[in-house]
């Protein structure tokens, strides 16, 4: 790489290249009908360092979920499965908000193993045992209680969490919204 500063002509050529690329990015964004609507979302970072914890499930996911029922507020893939019957992540983890005491109790009761210090991701590129990914929150996010007793984040917060964890995923969000349950009183009616 040269230390020579770029000439003005070289800068102009680079700027024009960037403008053209940017124009294509802009067109691609607008090819999604939800682009304008999603501009209003403030992404929420579920995997916030200092707040996020990860530990391997020591019992089947269903048993851990049941044991934490009423305490955990599920989000991301776990909330999507509870709300729509379908998830969007291959890894069979549980993802939710807990307070610190509930998380410690889950360790003490053998629901989960020792919290891990690295590898914090909801979408690993390698095979790993099922995990509990918890965001320890003093101030819990807005939630809804399902007939089963499970608590899930509100739909709006789920969108914020997905956005803040996976980035803007218009196809995923559209698919998810299409399967949003009407009986919860939060679904958009399909077009007639």
């Amino acid at each position: 790489m040269s230390d020579r500063p770029r000439t003005t002509a070289e800068r102009m050529a680079r700027f024009q290249r960037d403008q053209e690329t940017y124009r294509r990015i802009s067109l691609a964004r607008r090819s999604h009908a939800r682009f304008h609507r999603d501009l209003a979302v403030v992404p929420h970072v579920f995997l916030l360092p200092g707040r996020a914890r990860m530990a391997a499930l020591m019992q089947p996911p269903e048993a851990v979920r049941t044991a934490l029922r009423g305490e955990a507020i599920w989000t991301l893939d776990t909330a999507a499965r509870l709300l729509t019957g379908e998830g969007f992540i291959a890894s069979p983890d549980l993802t939710g908000y807990l307070n610190e005491r509930s998380f410690e109790r889950a360790v003490e009761q053998g629901l989960i193993g020792t919290p891990m210090t690295g590898g914090l991701t909801i979408d690993p590129l390698y095979h790993r045992p099922p995990m509990l990914l918890a965001h320890l929150a003093d101030d819990p996010p807005p939630s809804t209680t399902l007939p089963s007793g499970d608590r899930v984040v509100t739909w709006q917060f789920l969108i914020r969490d997905i956005f803040g964890t996976l980035g803007w995923r218009p196809d995923l969000l559209t698919r998810l919204e299409a399967s949003r349950p009407i009986e919860l009183g939060v679904a958009q009616q399909p077009p007639s």
């Binding site: 800068r11 501009l39 803007w168």
Partner: protein, 244 residues
């Protein structure tokens, strides 16, 4: 090149103002952050100053001579000046006679002229005087300029600095009013893309935070400021939560 620090940049602006160049050179770009905030990181290795490209065309020889007297050597064919101490200063052009992206300035000292900057500099309250001397972009103008900057390689930094400047000034009604007026001067699709870019930049920081780990405590406060800046920007641009 050496990374400039805030006192060094502000001292340079004072020397420029005391020279025949006067207030013609306006502190901007990432180094413009030095002019509007004592806390936001400028994250830059050079100093950008805005200049009227048509004035450069008319006064090229004088500018080159005065920069030489200030201790800067011109790099031929570029808008860049370097000092023996390793400081690099770039001239960035605007124009009062048109708003087009083009090459302007003189034959020896060609500068890029940016349409967006030309538009912003034509609007009221674009600049302000620095307390110690020199001229800088006003906070709202700097935020708008960085928000609308198009560049692929450092675009994230521009948007993050925008959000941090907005967050830092969010309690100032005059700032919010000014920024709202500036944003209205641009087509809606430009703002839409800028907000989408801001989204992506915020997520890039989140990813960086995750990689950096819990020892990088400085990120937590920054993340909050970025979210606050984004929320204010969305409100100013008329983009508030629409998801039911």
């Amino acid at each position: 090149m050496s990374q400039p620090n805030r006192p060094e940049v502000l001292e340079l602006l004072q020397r420029i103002e005391a020279s025949p160049l006067g207030d013609r050179l306006i502190l901007a770009g990432s180094s413009g952050v030095y002019g509007v905030s004592e806390t936001i990181p400028a994250l830059t290795e050079d100093v950008d100053v805005l200049v009227d490209a048509d004035w450069i065309a008319a006064e090229e020889d004088m500018v080159l001579e005065q920069m030489r007297r200030l201790g800067f050597q011109h790099q031929p064919g570029t808008p860049t000046f370097t000092s023996a101490a390793g400081l690099s200063l770039d001239l960035v052009g605007y124009s009062r006679r048109d708003a087009a992206d083009r090459i302007g300035g003189g034959k020896t000292l060609p500068v890029m002229v940016f349409a967006d900057l030309s538009r912003l500099l034509s609007l009221p309250h674009a600049t302000r005087k620095l307390p110690g001397g020199g001229t800088t972009l006003s906070p709202a103008t700097l935020a708008a300029a960085k928000l609308l900057t198009i560049r692929l390689e450092k675009g994230s930094k521009d948007k993050l600095q925008t959000l941090l400047v907005i967050a830092e000034n969010a309690g100032e009604e005059a700032f919010l009013e000014h920024l709202r007026d500036l944003l209205r001067a641009f087509p809606p699709d430009r703002l839409e893309d800028a907000i989408a870019d801001a989204h992506a930049s915020l997520l890039a920081v989140s990813a960086d935070v995750i990689v950096a780990g819990p020892q990088a405590a400085g990120y937590a406060g920054m993340q909050q400021s970025l979210e606050r800046g984004l929320t204010v920007l969305q409100a100013l641009a008329g983009r508030t939560e629409e998801h039911p």
